[in-house]
């Protein structure tokens, strides 16, 4: 049996990763052979992530005076250097995995992302990030419009949403996105077992293959039915994946593991959507770098770290970019209940083997009256329009014109993340 080089490498990696991380040179060789086609994994932090405790301006005295309870002690932060404005920054102490990716030069931290007159509503804010349209956030999503540019007929698994409901960003006029929260339950169940169950599935497939001439509404339904049946086996294939690393046992990490399975098994989805919640931290965020917010950071960092390493071990990280965003950040000053209320500009993260890592943009200065602030210095004012990050992802990663997908030219001011 003739082994392809990639298979050989993958098997080799599988062997060596029993106890060790894959040697970087093996991964680099494998990447040269990896399947064509780039993909984007979108991670949504639901509820409004407190960016100032994610990426901490640990030398800003106002950070400590305005957050007497919840500030991360300077001695605990994971230092990542100083930004273009000379402000020293550190990651939350639970983001050790992300610091490691940062040190490899593959994590970009885009500071102060947002837009003018930032919505403080979860609902509207989420829709604005989803539609990429602060003026009218009720239409299709930016990723849905990207999917609409793909040649027809579009593959039923062109995108893969790991949450139950289609997020605004993936809403499209003409491209359906399957919601496959759990590959294990994306199956065809039956009141019977064995052969009879298989016969039901075969029968359903034949029934759905009816072109239904003269009944276009029925043909549309048959298309959805057939699309489901025809994707079952590919999703089941993704389910058979054995990762090269141990993923943490929580919903977020398991969703990333499902995504990894789909990528490694060559399912071919261009966009994956993953969400993790609990970020609406109005109360009891935790003190001294611990507590509820630290748990959120642990879940985020450990999950992303496992995924990134898994992709690298598989030689697929050069084709896989992850972005992390939230609908808004939070107030600078803590509130009366040890938490923070809804704020404005936050931090986006972009990571992957092709990402130009580092600190992009500049940190706010938190002293009242500073021009990097807004809303009577209550909130962080945006510096980078979030749509310019979308624009560079579309133009330089997914390879489509951002101007048509975003209905406007937002390239100006885009961070150089590729």
């Amino acid at each position: 049996m003739k082994l392809s080089r990639r298979l050989f490498i993958r098997d080799g990696v599988a062997t060596v990763t029993l106890g060790l991380a894959a040697p970087a040179f093996l991964a680099e060789i494998a990447q040269a052979q990896s399947i064509p086609g780039r993909r984007l994994v979108v991670v949504y932090l639901a509820g409004g992530n407190d960016a100032l405790n994610t990426l901490v301006p640990y030398q800003d005295a106002s950070y400590y005076s305005r957050r007497p309870t919840i500030a991360i002690p300077a001695g605990q932060v994971l230092q990542v250097g100083t930004d273009a404005a000379g402000r020293a920054l550190g990651l939350h102490p639970r983001l050790t995995a992300l610091r490691s990716i940062f040190d490899q030069g593959r994590l970009a931290l885009v500071q102060r992302t947002g837009y003018a007159n930032s919505s403080r509503s979860h609902f509207e804010g989420g829709d604005i990030w989803g539609t990429a349209n602060p003026q009218n956030s009720t239409g299709s999503g930016w990723l849905g419009r990207y999917l609409d540019t793909l040649p027809r007929p579009v593959d039923a698994l062109a995108a893969w949403n790991t949450t139950d409901e289609t997020p605004r960003a993936l809403k499209s006029a003409i491209t359906g996105v399957p919601a496959i929260a759990n590959a294990a339950t994306y199956n065809f169940s039956s009141p019977n077992q064995g052969v009879a169950a298989q016969q039901e599935r075969n029968t359903a497939e034949v029934m759905a293959s009816n072109l239904a001439p003269g009944r276009p509404h029925l043909a549309l339904l048959n298309g959805a039915n057939l699309g489901a049946i025809e994707t079952l086996d590919r999703v089941a294939q993704a389910r058979t994946y054995t990762p090269t690393v141990a993923y943490p046992n929580n919903g977020f990490a398991l969703a990333l593991r499902t995504v990894a399975g789909a990528i490694v098994k060559g399912i071919g989805s261009k966009v994956y959507w993953v969400s993790t919640g609990g970020y609406d931290t109005h109360a009891q965020q935790g003190a001294n770098g611990g507590g509820a917010y630290a748990n959120l950071m642990g879940t985020l960092g450990d999950g992303l770290g496992a995924f990134y390493t898994d992709m690298r071990n598989q030689g697929l990280s050069n084709d896989t970019t992850v972005i992390v965003f939230s609908e808004f950040s939070r107030r600078i000053s803590e509130n009366g209940s040890g938490g923070t209320d809804h704020g404005a500009a936050g931090v986006m993260m972009v990571l992957g083997g092709s990402v130009r890592g580092g600190l992009h943009g500049t940190s706010p200065s938190l002293a009242p009256g500073n021009p990097t602030l807004e809303n009577s210095s209550g909130d962080v004012h945006y510096e980078t329009d979030f749509r310019s990050v979308y624009a560079t992802l579309l133009d330089n990663w997914l390879g489509v014109s951002s101007v048509s997908v975003l209905n406007g030219d937002f390239k100006a001011g885009a961070p150089a993340i590729f």
């Binding site: 052969v195 039901e200 034949v206 029934m207 509404h217 549309l220």
Partner: protein
């Protein structure tokens, strides 16, 4: 074919949730016109359905603790599903669902604001069950066939609505536009028939339409409550001018009023919007899609006729629905099976037709969410994306797998019930299509179904074969594309 007059079958799919075996007995001898009257004039029949929760011969509910549908949203979902399956007033539930979509209000935002128990109470509490106003859904049950002006007014002054559309922040110094915009965009005339200055004016009209908490309020005290309050000192008193007439004399300006009299501003605007001819036409188009067809666009003659009934009856919905269901458009052959079922319609109809013995409606709760319709959780204020938008690979798979769950739960009962009739594959098919009513099959799927019945070997009609094939057939019929149409 079902055992009912096809016109009555059609009517029950639209004005109800399909027909169970018991419903077949009720409607068997009714003419279509008599059935319309029976469905619409439900006020004379007792609303006793909730008392039957937990009784034998009904679909079951499941709960970990005490069944508490007034304060637990999952229990509330089960109660509503139970009502859809068993109410003797199916049109009342259908209209509640229509208004729940039209006045879409989501549990999660209310829970964010007031905790899960108060949020459930705000949406679902039965009148008189707990202190405080009745749940929003009960408004739709109680007043859903009355005057639209009245319904819009009650909806606008419901605490759930105030929280949902940020009315508590509507003060005279910072008029809040959310409600002022939506009442024109979604609840009345629609986009194109109001201007941005109208939105600003409406925000000022509703300034002071706020929220009040009962004394000693706490989220966890079930006898505590939030309710609407007109906060006179937060009302902005100057006159407000609109681009459309507010008063019957054609005047477009709501006069300046004192703070104490200022609530009348909102009442005047609501009345004007309810009686606006464009509201009449917009509702007529919505009723076309809900009752008549999603495949054929609204016939202008229907829109005009229905809008006239609405305006001439003083915006009363009962006469409008009566007129729609008796109209030639409703009874046109092109309207039959010309709607895409909502997940709730699909689930309830399938339970009614396949059976519910030893089945809990809770089995449908998670699947409905996967189908795209968690009750009390519309995706946004515009309601659910209807029609073909209900269908994607994953939502279709969710429907398909619910069909499997349902057929599996009824497997033994189906086998016993059909054993005698199942003398041949064709006979089993005929007997099954007496109760399960998909849109007609073309030759290809029909042959595929017959092939399935003998795929395990020649027909013997023995117990094991009937048990396997009847359940499998029920699953395939309910999961078919044809069955998704109503």
């Amino acid at each position: 074919m079902s055992q009912l007059d096809p016109a009555v079958d059609h009517l029950l799919r639209r004005a109800g949730f399909g027909a169970s075996a018991a419903d077949v007995e009720t409607y068997r001898d009714m003419s279509p016109a008599a059935a319309v009257a029976h469905l619409v004039d439900y006020a004379g029949r007792p609303d006793d359905v909730d008392e039957r929760i937990g009784r034998p011969d009904h679909v079951q509910v499941s709960t970990n603790n005490l069944f508490a549908p007034d304060i637990d949203i999952d229990d509330a979902r089960q109660r509503w599903m139970f009502r859809m399956v068993h109410s003797r007033r199916p049109l009342q539930e259908k209209m509640a669902m229509f208004w729940h979509n039209h006045f879409a209000t989501a549990f999660s935002k209310l829970a964010n604001d007031s905790g899960t128990k108060q949020a459930a109470k705000l949406l679902t509490a039965k009148p008189g069950s707990l202190r405080g106003p009745m749940g929003q859904i009960e408004l739709f049950r109680e007043y859903g066939m009355g005057s639209y002006r009245d319904l819009l007014f009650r909806f606008s002054q419901h605490a759930a609505t105030v929280i949902w559309l940020d009315g508590q922040f509507n003060t005279k110094t910072k008029p809040q536009e959310n409600f002022g915009r939506e009442i024109m965009e979604l609840f009345s005339v629609g986009v194109g028939y109001y201007t941005e200055p109208d939105v600003y004016a409406a925000a000022r009209v509703f300034s002071g339409w706020n929220l009040r908490e009962s004394e000693g309020y706490s989220d966890n005290d079930m006898n505590a409550y939030k309710e609407f309050v007109y906060n006179a000192d937060q009302h902005e008193t100057s006159e407000k001018t609109f681009s459309f007439p507010i008063y019957s004399d054609g005047s477009k300006t709501i006069p300046s009023r004192s703070e104490s009299a200022g609530m009348q501003d909102g009442i005047d605007l609501i009345t004007a919007l309810a009686f606006h001819p464009e509201t009449a036409r917009r509702l007529a188009r919505k009723f076309w899609n809900f009752f008549v067809s999603e495949i054929v666009p609204p016939d202008p003659a229907f829109v005009s006729a229905t809008a006239n009934v609405y305006l001439q009856s003083g915006t009363r919905i009962g006469p409008v629905v009566y007129s729609v269901l008796n109209s030639p458009w409703f009874n046109d052959p092109s309207a039959v099976y010309a709607r895409y079922s909502w997940p709730a319609e699909f689930v309830v109809r399938s339970i009614k037709e396949v059976g519910w013995q030893n089945l809990s409606v809770d089995k449908a709760r998670a699947p409905m969410s996967n189908m795209g319709q968690a009750l009390y959780e519309p995706p946004n204020v515009a309601g659910w994306p209807l029609g073909a938008n209900w269908f994607s690979t994953s939502t279709m798979l969710a429907r398909s797998n619910f069909a499997a769950t349902l057929a599996s739960s009824q497997k033994g009962f189906l086998a016993v019930g059909l054993q005698e009739q199942a003398t041949s594959p064709q006979a089993l098919m005929t007997a099954m299509l007496d109760r399960i009513t998909p849109a007609p099959f073309d030759a290809l799927p029909q042959q595929a179904l017959l092939n399935y019945l003998v795929a395990g070997g020649a027909w013997t009609g023995n117990e094991s074969q009937v048990s396997t094939r009847a359940a499998g057939l029920a699953r395939l019929l309910v999961a078919s594309s044809e069955y998704q149409l109503v």
